[in-house]
Symmetry: C2
Subunit: 416 residues, 2 copies
């Protein structure tokens, strides 16, 4: 089969991770080296920038500088949280996308994001097909939330998990120095799936992590929370608790909403914006237990801490981007690159697979309930076995003046 | 001169750092290898544990395990915030200390801490001298605040500074991805001296750090703060601000106190919301500027993040502990080990010096005003030149299962 000739465009979407640029790099480097891809464009701020005809000509970047994306956190091309309309109701955006594609002769579309982005890919692909415009559309996953379906795990999760576990170990040692009784409540990202909060159990498995872990998968009860803390305080002076930002009660009400009026603050997807659960839970517990209680929010740090990234995650993220281009060039379209885990003589190996976009779009994979303990406040061995390989290896980033040397791109506008 | 024979005791005090154990290790390993030191004890929770006769027999620890202290954050022996009374008013504690010293034949006292700890050393030394009990007393500095006098810098500062600068760089890239306007307010530790907040300027020097930096050395004004942010927003979409927790207004009132103790600050359960200068400043600014404002508190993370420690800091901290023992054994007493900076052919070198305890106790060294810009919201080149050597080199810590391998001591009680 003859390879489809034309330009490619790659975009990043949703919340950044510390390795989303590694995936972008995998795609960009492979595309730059691919003969049938005539031009490599980047979308400024994802699909939003594409609609506004804001592209970057990535052929103009210095290859060595570009390669530093392997260790550069955040979304170097810029991101967006733009949601495309249902094309049956309003196809304005889709027509515009087709117009831009024609302008630049874009025949390959790579979109790097979470489940919303896979939905974006899916809709664009269907629209192009309907209008007889040949274009290969591939999704490249990313999310620290690890909640994409049909893949063993997601690029970005391993590094964020390594950050959470490493930092929990360090804070665990710090918080206990006075021996006078302390409760440290750590808030980790994760609205509906508790994967990242669960990563704190990797610290516990080393003897230096939370005694209590609460995920959104299990209904949360404030009274039980206090009882749980008191039970741990009865046997040791210092307690660490990890909570997902998205813990909910048995009626599905976010615990964070108990403390604030968050109904006001919704993002473009209608998600309630989170924040401040840790200090609020700390105040609540502080008034009810006999110990000093402190709340710590890992905030943005957990999703951009490339300095403690997982080498496995960096390499796998790169391979996901690379595979997206290779598959598209070989004629495949409408797929997301996923991961399959294999064990060779007991040694973990990660292989890329291709998954139908349709099957991934808008779905959320949660932590299996059978991996959570009976009392709903801790993780069991299957989770530890699952997550441990994902955090292996240090991301050995280059430095200058003792600080990370990130990629500084030129962001050249195309001359088309 | 004949060397003084007897046991030694080492204690840690005040807030932990990621390298206070490196200093302890320098002292412990040197003492264990020193023939005239008959026994090496650790105080459980510093002077507080000493008063309660809670010691550890460090001769019983495995030497390889002990050596892992080089990369283990927090105070492995436990810490305290106990302040000794004025011996002229109440000498109870001092008598008890002398009693314990006699019980264990302690002839060497090493205390690892900040300026309060140097005061403790000084008072104990004078009391022992007055009572004719021969004992060498040496202070080993530590503080992420970098505010000890008579030393170029303090063990612990370099690693915390490296954490602050590295994390600022990462958050800087993360916060700007949407290109829709953002203000990120980062709160850094430092009640009276702004050294650690100033370290964020190292990130700015790399082009990825705060545009605005506020230290306690310069009176803070809320209206000017908003004007400053608006000025930066006029030239770029995303602004990063670093503030010391201890910023004060022209009357010396902590800015953090502006936001607490009001009815408004109570949550739905009637508890006053805890901490949070950063979120409070963020809310304040959010209502006054046209951008999304977010507050991030580095909290305990900045003082325990050994995973991004400075190699120079680790090595210098170790050398401070080692020098304390060597000096004491050679007959010196009543000193704190300090650092002197020398440049050999332009290459930074750090040498240990010995400083009178009296001259260090209870003093605070602040950031020189001539290192701060005229508008009071940024640092100048002399600070960058000062701080850069302190963050050099990566702390190459051992790992197990992808996570730091910290020292797990046995904490054996003495048989005396």
């Amino acid at each position: 089969m003859e390879k489809l000739r034309g330009a490619c465009v790659i975009g990043q979407s949703g919340g950044p991770t510390s390795v989303i640029n590694a995936s972008a790099l995998g795609a960009i480097e492979t595309a730059l080296d691919e003969e049938c891809i005539t031009k490599v464009y980047g979308m400024a701020n994802g699909i939003k920038g594409l609609l506004e005809d804001r592209l970057y000509d990535l052929d103009q970047e210095d290859r060595d500088e570009l390669h530093l994306l392997l260790h550069t956190p955040s979304s170097a091309l810029g991101s967006c949280r733009y949601k495309l309309a249902d094309p049956d109701k309003d196809d304005t955006d889709y027509k515009r996308i087709l117009e831009i594609f024609k302008k630049y002769d874009i025949r390959y579309f790579f979109y790097n994001g979470g489940n919303d982005s896979m939905d974006t890919c899916n809709k664009i692909s269907k629209f192009l097909l309907k209008h007889g415009y040949e274009c290969r559309v591939m999704g490249i996953p990313k999310t620290i939330d690890n909640d994409l379906d049909m893949t063993d795990h997601c690029p970005g999760y391993g590094s964020a998990a390594k950050y959470v576990a490493t930092t929990c170990m360090e804070v665990y040692r710090d918080a206990a120095v006075y021996g006078e009784g302390s409760v440290t409540v750590i808030e980790v990202m994760g609205r509906n799936a508790g994967w990242l909060t669960a990563a704190s159990a990797l610290a516990s498995a080393q003897g230096c992590g939370p005694e209590l872990i609460y995920l959104p998968e299990v209904p949360f009860d404030l009274e039980k929370f206090i009882r749980d803390i008191k039970e741990v305080l009865a046997v040791r002076k210092d307690v660490m608790v990890a909570v997902s930002e998205g813990i909910k009660d048995k009626d599905g009400v976010y615990i964070s909403s108990y403390f604030t009026d968050t109904e006001k603050d919704k993002d473009a997807f209608g998600h309630i914006r989170m924040g401040g659960l840790a200090p609020n839970l700390a105040s609540y517990a502080g008034a009810r237990v006999d110990a000093r209680v402190r709340g710590i929010e890992f905030s943005l740090l957990q999703r951009c801490a490339a300095h403690v990234g997982s080498e496995n995650d960096v390499n796998e993220s790169y391979s996901a981007g690379k595979e997206a281009v290779n598959a598209a060039v070989s004629g495949i379209t409408d797929k997301m690159v996923g991961f399959e885990r294999v064990y060779n003589d007991g040694v973990y190996e990660c292989r890329t697979i291709l998954v139908d976009l349709e099957k991934v779009a808008n779905k959320e994979k949660k932590v299996p309930l059978e991996w959570i303990n009976e009392t709903g406040n801790g993780l069991l061995k299957p989770f530890i076995d699952y997550a441990t390989p994902l955090i292996q290896g240090k991301n050995e980033y280059p430095t200058v003046n003792g600080l990370p040397r990130h990629a500084n791109l030129k962001y050249v506008k195309p001359t088309v």
